[in-house]
Symmetry: C2
DNA sequence: TCCCGCCTGTAGCGATCGCTACATTTTTAT
DNA sequence: ATAAAAATGTAGCGATCGCTACAGGCGGGA
């Protein structure tokens, strides 16, 4: 039955939209079901349990995020490290990506609380993000894996700073470290 | 009545221990009350509402965290930026501080979800952390505020990486950026 | 046709949530 | 000593949670 598979995929799209707007950790079955025009009864039936549903949804979100990155900024080398940093920061701060920042912190919170599925999803997202970023570094980058890890770690810090309204600190960090790395 | 104030403070200590062990976002009144030997009824009576209780608890946790920093690493200048970075990373990765990493991500998650109290607490914690860090930078640091912001943003990224099991990326970032900043 | 297995709607279970009504005890002020 | 006020225990409300029992609809193979 590809019929039911298609519908599950469609459900996952709709539920992803719902958690992007309303958060992931507080999501409950009935609102999720209503968002995609079905019932909690059906979600449990087709996903086995809420845990199974969240597993599937996390995978869907992880794939969607990395795909969204590649769609927003197609492959191409940046002119310099600060330029690379600036364009990715601008992308992450774009309102279209703001929903992801929110559920990203939900995922981290659950992962820190011991939820294995969230931890795995976070790990996968970071790995995909790192790979994508590595492909955007200037061509003359020496150790591109370590450089991508460095930029990515800094970017995560920027997301954290932004989330509590400390954009100033994030901007200072981008300026200081970007300039330092380009020398 | 300093009597009831003392007890509220004692309650906050106990509840802080409880959320450090069991998480902040999923905490509910009855377990919190049981952890300090009282009832949900009493918590509501003395704090007004759960929101009031969380407000007080967030302030308590923020103060406790910054005080814990100062107790763990008393004021003193680091020999170099990489050394400063290394000692603070070691401190944050210390098991004694691991509970704070967990609820820190809970606070960020709630802040990103629009909870004003959590956002404010996060902002205060970051500001206190930055001030403390600024006092530990090497004496010859030029723009110490910006440098502290840079290290702090990087540290936040390290916490994120660690929380999803990407310590390798965090270590790479520390090495690359630490070395770069010291040049 | 009949039946069987997949799907789905209805209704509700037991647990937990934040919070409150009510009665009572304990403390404080006069 | 007595009245007012503050503090506390008991019990439960209404809402929501994940999940399930039950009954039926609905399709294709015998």
């Amino acid at each position: 039955m590809t019929r039911t598979q298609d519908r599950k995929e469609h459900w996952l799209d709709g539920m992803a939209q719902h958690v992007l707007a309303h958060g992931l950790n507080n999501a409950s079955l009935r609102p999720l079901a209503q968002a995609v025009g079905t019932s909690d009864r059906m979600l449990i039936y087709h996903f086995g349990s809420k845990e199974g549903l969240i597993d599937a949804l996390l995978r869907h979100l992880a794939g969607g995020f990395v795909a969204g990155l590649e769609a927003a900024l197609p492959p191409g080398r940046a002119a310099s490290l600060p330029a690379c940093l600036a364009e990715v920061v601008a992308l992450l701060r774009n309102p279209a990506m703001a929903g992801y920042a929110r559920i990203w912190l939900d995922i981290l919170s659950a992962a820190a609380g011991g939820e294995a599925a969230h931890r795995q999803a976070g790990q996968d997202i970071m790995a995909g993000f790192a790979l994508w970023l590595e492909g955007r570094l200037p061509e003359d980058t020496h150790d591109s894996a370590a450089t991508a890890a460095a930029l990515l770690t800094l970017l995560e810090g920027v997301i954290v700073m932004d989330s509590v309204g400390q954009q100033d600190m994030a901007d200072a960090a981008i300026a200081v470290i970007g300039q330092s790395l380009s020398r």
